[in-house]
């Protein structure tokens, strides 16, 4: 029924909510895999060493960079929401959400530079 109903929602805060959900889902998928890998330290050290060699591949490092971004953007976006809901209202939330996204990208880029 609504013409352009999606387009009107496409503002910085709508994207911030979308990114927060998708990053949360991404981290939720990653965490069990992370714990399974950690379990190898107890159960099978040789397989863990093999995983470390696999994890040294540039493509995997690129994937890790994505994870760092997900973690940072979810953490910073969550902090912004906590401040909105628990402290006196402050304006410029769209700018703060954009800054959180930008800072998360910067952190991910710094990580990539350090590991490559």
């Amino acid at each position: 029924m609504s013409v352009g109903a999606l387009s009107r929602r496409r503002n910085a805060l709508w994207y911030a909510a979308l990114v927060h959900r998708l990053s949360g889902l991404g981290l939720a998928v990653f965490l069990p895999l992370h714990f399974l890998t950690l379990a190898l330290a107890v159960e099978d050290g040789a397989r863990l060493d093999g995983f470390f060699r696999f994890a040294d591949m540039p493509a995997v490092k690129l994937g890790e960079t994505g994870l760092v971004f997900l973690l940072a953007v979810h953490f910073l976006g969550g902090l912004r929401i906590l401040f909105v809901e628990n402290f006196t209202w402050r304006g410029n939330q769209a700018k703060l959400a954009s800054a959180a996204g930008g800072l998360a990208m910067l952190l991910a880029f710094v990580f990539l530079i350090r590991v490559l």
Binding site: S7, A17, I81, E85
Partner: protein
């Protein structure tokens, strides 16, 4: 083509109920023409069966809100020149409310939630008591004043993603009203109100997308009001005044 030389507007208007469709009309373009003027022209000159709702025409009554080019707006204060894409205009009923017919929506869910949020003043004094002076520069009065100019147009309700996803959600307008009363020192129904807005579908369901603030024609900030209610209800719960 109008006498002023401007091409006619091509106006698509929703006709029928929920399963209706858009029908396109050609409307003469005028200077300083509002969307409500366009809809009124269609009803008076092209199709008298068109149903829509309006009253004051000056942005006070809140009855003429519609979806204009995909965005909820008060049509009496929306100039066509600001929103038309080329010479095209699409006018539909508000989202998130049942369609009665054409551009008229059933506002009952909106106002029933107003009641559910205890958005009614509960007096703490009788008519025999002296009038209580309220200083306008107190913190609580300023918080109430910041949200009190709501005209119940339903634009925030139509713009809210949470209302779309969760039919139990009270919505920005009802919660904003509850916030203004929560800051009214004369009100005697605070505990019941905080219990009502803390329940399922209450203030804690808000995702702080701020679409209500973005679209409010009165430039109110219901998201800030809802955030205030989240703090008040959390404190009331910690004090044991309300239940989870």
């Amino acid at each position: 083509m109008t006498p002023s030389g401007k091409p006619d507007l091509s106006v698509s208007i929703w006709r029928g109920g929920a399963d209706g469709a858009y029908r396109t009309y050609s409307v003469p373009s005028r200077d300083s023409q509002t969307v409500l003027d366009v809809v009124t022209y269609v009803q008076r000159h092209l199709d008298p069966t068109l149903s829509y709702r309006f009253a004051c025409r000056v942005g006070m009554c809140g009855s003429c809100a519609m979806t204009v080019n995909g965005r909820p707006r008060w049509t009496c204060r929306t100039h066509v020149s600001r929103v038309a894409k080329g010479d095209k205009l699409t006018v539909g009923p508000l989202e998130n409310l049942p369609v009665v017919k054409d551009l008229a929506t059933d506002m009952r869910p909106f106002f029933e939630k107003w009641q559910d949020a205890k958005g009614v003043f509960e007096p703490s004094k009788t008519r025999d008591d002296a009038i209580e002076p309220i200083r306008p520069d107190t913190r609580q009065r300023q918080l109430a004043d910041a949200g009190v100019e709501c005209i119940n147009c339903g634009v925030c309700y139509a713009a809210c993603d949470t209302v779309k996803w969760n039919t139990d959600y009270l919505g920005p307008a009802a919660l904003n009203r509850a916030w203004t009363l929560a800051n009214d020192v004369r009100d005697a129904g605070q505990t019941e109100r905080l219990q009502a807005v803390a329940s399922g579908g209450g203030c804690h369901a808000c995702h702080s997308h701020q679409s209500c603030q973005e679209h409010c024609p009165q430039t109110l900030n219901p998201t800030a009001s809802i955030a205030g209610l989240k703090r008040l209800t959390a404190l009331a719960y910690l004090r044991g005044e309300i239940e989870a």
